[in-house]
């Protein structure tokens, strides 16, 4: 009898374990699917590897400019291959990514008159996805602070902070820059 009781106990323990395990699995699956459902999938991804992309052109904003305090320094524009197609054709295909890289500048301590690139202020990104970003000309806009790949400066404010101005370039598919040969 004692053995029988023991066996029963063991069986009930096994059942209990199976129940806990199942509950855990269900919770995991629900959490995972909820998180992917709630995730804002219109977030512009960080443009990994853009420093190897083609260099479109550069500009410098000096102390005499009213923009100096906020964005003074040197700016480089980069484009992925699809973005480069767009510069050639005037229409940017889906998947085009354009980068506006804002760097500070530093005077060379040993060579007067020579200026070098300094730290990164932020990286502006435009991604072409006509379905996701139908409300803003087919372009998603974002800015990443400093060297961060997660510290976003635009988020849901793209319509006012970016698109409001880019819309003036409608005839050029909302892009201001041109490839400098």
């Amino acid at each position: 009898m004692a053995i029988h009781e023991n066996t029963e106990k063991l069986i009930s323990l096994a059942k209990w374990r199976r129940g806990v395990f199942l509950a855990l699995a269900v919770t995991c699956i629900m959490t995972w699917s909820l998180s992917s459902w709630a995730k804002p999938d219109d977030a512009v991804p960080y443009p990994v590897g853009y420093r190897q992309w083609a260099h479109v052109k550069s500009t410098i904003i000096g102390p005499k400019s009213s923009l100096y305090e906020k964005i003074g320094g040197i700016q480089h524009i980069y484009a992925n291959e699809k973005g480069m197609e767009g510069y050639g054709a005037g229409r940017f295909p889906e998947g085009s990514i354009l980068i506006y890289d804002f760097l500070k500048t530093e005077e060379d301590a040993n060579s007067p008159g020579v200026t070098h690139e300094g730290s990164r202020r932020f990286t502006s990104v435009m991604v072409k996805d006509s379905k996701r970003y139908a409300a803003t000309g087919g372009w998603g806009f974002e800015e990443f602070r400093g060297d961060s790949q997660t510290d976003r400066m635009i988020g849901a404010e793209a319509p006012t902070k970016c698109y409001a101005c880019h819309t003036s370039q409608k005839d050029r598919d909302y892009v201001f820059s041109a490839f400098r040969k």
């Binding site: 420093r51 260099h55 550069s58 500009t59 410098i60 005499k64 400019s65 040197i74 020579v114």
Partner: protein, 178 residues
């Protein structure tokens, strides 16, 4: 008899023609061979397509710099894939090409934009051809030209006199700016 003579004449005519063609072919082959042999094969080729290579870094040379007259403006450095390996490892494989692009600048209300091209400076790694200059061939192309070359043997020696000081960095001054 007349028939036979006619055939003979024709044959000799055919033979002479064949001879002429052979001489012509030989002349062409010898000329081509001589040309290829005499051509300075240490010439640095124009770096076609460099504008879409990786952008290594940039610098500005302003009016206060003694280099302003010759090189004032904005400089961009570009590297092909092999040279990018070199920037990471410190040793540049044969076939590495580095281009320094010298552009004039225009300023308006504190905003400076790129102007016309002054020249491009090119470094090509070919250890056999350029054994005397650290494995690097040096060239400059004036303006937007792909043929207007600036560097002479004497200038190349000067290029290396300075670049050669960067021994630990395989004669390259620049570093990839992340």
């Amino acid at each position: 008899m007349t028939k036979r003579e006619d055939v003979k004449e024709r044959t000799s005519l055919f033979g002479r023609r064949r001879m002429r063609i052979a001489v012509l072919i030989a002349t062409v082959i010898v000329t081509l061979g001589l040309y290829a042999w005499a051509k300075p094969n240490d010439e640095v080729p124009y770096p076609a397509g460099y504008r879409t290579w990786t952008h290594v870094r940039s610098a500005l040379v302003g009016p206060q710099s003694p280099a302003f007259e010759n090189s004032g403006g904005i400089h961009h450095i570009y590297a092909n894939e092999k040279a990018m390996e070199g920037y990471h490892t410190g040793r540049y494989p044969d076939g590495s090409v580095i281009v320094a692009d010298f552009l004039e600048t225009r300023e308006n209300a504190g905003v400076t934009t790129e102007g016309p091209r002054r020249r491009i400076d090119v470094m090509v790694k070919d250890s056999k051809r350029n054994a005397a200059t650290g494995g690097w061939g040096f060239e400059q192309f004036r303006g937007d030209s792909q043929t207007d070359r600036v560097v002479t043997a004497e200038i190349a020696t000067k290029c290396f006199a300075c670049h050669g000081k960067q021994k630990e960095r395989d004669s390259v001054f620049s570093e990839f700016r992340k």
